[in-house]
Symmetry: C2
Subunit: 126 residues, 2 copies
């Protein structure tokens, strides 16, 4: 299944932003950004760590969004993965990714795009 996976490591994000520290705020942000991108959430789960940090995922009809925050170091890790089953969802994935980046306001980023699930598997399974 052809798809696109966007990976972000976002550094120096303001640590006090609600989405960095509260699971409810992060969930609201993720679901709103998913909807805003025209992607379809079919389930989600978020978890609040003690003393700090939030982790969460949104199951998409198109694949998934995953996000992890470390307020103590201003760091956010994000994955947006969409499959192109019935349409090219790449622009929607980028829209979602960009909306989240805007929300977290990182000063520095490391980002990669991976094309997944093409028709050319590289080796036979062991």
């Amino acid at each position: 299944m052809d798809g696109i996976h966007l990976l972000g490591e976002w550094f120096d994000c303001p640590a006090e932003s609600p989405a960095m520290i509260q699971s409810g705020a992060l969930r609201s942000l993720c679901l709103a950004a998913t909807q805003g991108a025209g992607l379809t959430a079919v389930g989600d789960k978020f978890h609040q760590f003690a003393p700090q940090g939030v982790t969460g995922m949104v199951l998409l009809a198109e694949s998934h969004l995953a996000i992890h925050t470390w307020p103590e170091s201003g760091f956010v890790s994000v994955d947006v993965y969409v499959c192109n089953f019935s349409a090219d969802n790449t622009p929607k994935a980028q829209h979602l990714f960009d909306a989240l980046r805007r929300a977290f306001q990182p000063a520095r980023v490391s980002e990669h795009t991976i094309r997944r699930g093409g028709l050319e598997p590289v080796r036979k399974a062991a």
Copy 2:
């Protein structure tokens, strides 16, 4: 946050295996494999598509597991991402990934390992 991300595209998996087609079976497999690898689940969510296919995620204390099945094409996409906050969790991630591969029995695979969240961000944010 330094971490390791294993990505798998597994082809020609037997389409009739319960974990390919039933969300409950996939959830049980994922939670057992997580525990077997010595990783810590803090939440999970699985979704059954109609007419077929399952998607799910396990939130880990160490980051996440995500998996999507397409029984109609014998295809499975999997992500295992662990951060090395207090220890090097790479062997545990590989253990989980290998256990899932054994369960799905792909004939062909495309797999990649990505090192994430290092100390060298590549550019300033726009």
